[in-house]
Amino acid sequence: MASLAAEAAQKNVAKVYAVDHALLTQYTADGLTTALEQLVKSMNPSYVVFPHTYEVRDFAPKLATRFKQVLVSDVIAIHAGPVFVRQLFQGKLNADFKSRARGRFSCRSRRARSGGWAGIRLGAG
């Protein structure tokens, strides 16, 4: 854990947070969601970005739902806007996804934060 945090700190990032707890040694979706929920609440970010892994697919939709947010999964590109590109029909089509939450979402949510969360998958090449 400490070595991973040290490695991340060498990258061009402002700050690295390490969450350590005995209950997190064995992966469970419930455990990780609860831990990350507390972290996200304390930081109040505009976006939360995850790698597209099996584990993330297991818990990230749960975490997003806890904040009444939407997880955009399997993102292969991000354009200005931001517009998230993901594939449909097993790669036959590409689709651009854009949040229309501004205004609509903020008036129904106590959180005035708009926008979604993205699970990023890097495209080949």
Binding site: A29, F89, R108
Partner: protein, 274 residues
């Protein structure tokens, strides 16, 4: 054990897909549709559990009228009941809106198991199951390879990744499982089953309640049961209670909170320019 299987209708696998005029979705006019194949494995697993331990399998489907064909197929294969919540356009719903729609239809009791696919063949979000479990306040397991019923719980084998071996978990019921494709052998519908499913009972639900939820529930919901037996006698009452108690109080807001398809392009063209 009561098992609810959320199924979906998608264009057939070899469909030629064309983007529609306003570039929001595909042209559906000349397409043929089938049950989403990963859902078929979830249904099969549910049917096998029912055959082993008894209980009831309920197929639950959101979609336009054409989706009735898919739930008839589920009935023909052996589902005891099927509920279709008619929704003309599903594409305006995001990954939170769709499970919220399902939530209104699935009120699990203590012995309920909900099953669905890991990732559907159309949108490929793979989030519906996990989000629904969170909305219901129940445990979930994804990429399930094996289900074993226990007293008040299910023991499941999951495949956390292609390389990391298997993980075994025991989840208290009600629980939600997303079933890995290919874990069982799909059955064909029997002739008798097909005949029964065509003879199903069609019932338009009347809406009750107040405020926004009532306005939304006026969307017709049809309950199918293969035959008019004593067992299906409670259907009308069931259709009227459009909101049943769930594990945790959940605020249901309108759908389509976030995402909207803006522009769709043939993937190939995009790849050429990249």
């Amino acid at each position: 054990m009561k098992i609810i299987v959320a199924i979906k209708q998608v264009p057939t696998r070899d469909s030629q897909l064309r983007v529609d005029a306003d570039k929001r979705w595909i042209q559906e006019g000349d397409l043929t549709f089938e049950i989403n194949e990963p859902d078929a494995y979830a249904l099969e697993e549910a049917l096998q559990l029912k055959e082993k331990h008894g209980g009831e399998v309920i197929a639950l489907c959101l979609g336009p009228s054409r989706a009735a064909q898919t739930i008839r197929e589920a009935l023909a294969k052996g589902a005891d009941r099927a509920i279709i919540s008619k929704k003309r356009v599903l594409t305006g719903l995001d990954t939170l809106g769709l499970p919220r729609c399902l939530l209104r239809q699935s009120g699990p009791n203590r012995r309920t198991l909900i099953m669905t696919d890991c990732s559907p063949n159309d949108l490929g979000n793979g989030q519906t199951g996990v989000v629904l479990a969170e909305l219901l306040g129940i445990s979930h397991g994804t990429i399930i390879m094996q289900v074993e019923k226990q007293d008040g719980a299910v023991r499941v084998k999951r495949e956390p990744s292609k390389t990391a071996g298997f993980q075994y978990m025991t989840l208290p019921t009600p629980a939600l499982l997303t079933i890995q494709s290919g874990i069982n052998k799909l059955r064909y519908a029997t002739l008798m089953g097909i005949k029964k499913s065509e003879d199903e009972r069609d019932q338009e639900a009347c809406s009750i309640g107040t405020g926004r939820s009532a306005r939304r529930s006026r969307r017709p919901r049809v309950v199918y049961a293969p035959h008019r037996t004593k067992a299906s006698g409670d259907l009308p009452r069931r259709c009227q209670s459009h909101r049943r108690p769930v594990g945790r109080k959940v605020e249901v807001r309108s759908e389509g909170d976030m995402s909207v398809l803006v522009v769709m392009e043939q993937a190939q063209r995009l790849m050429e320019t990249a």
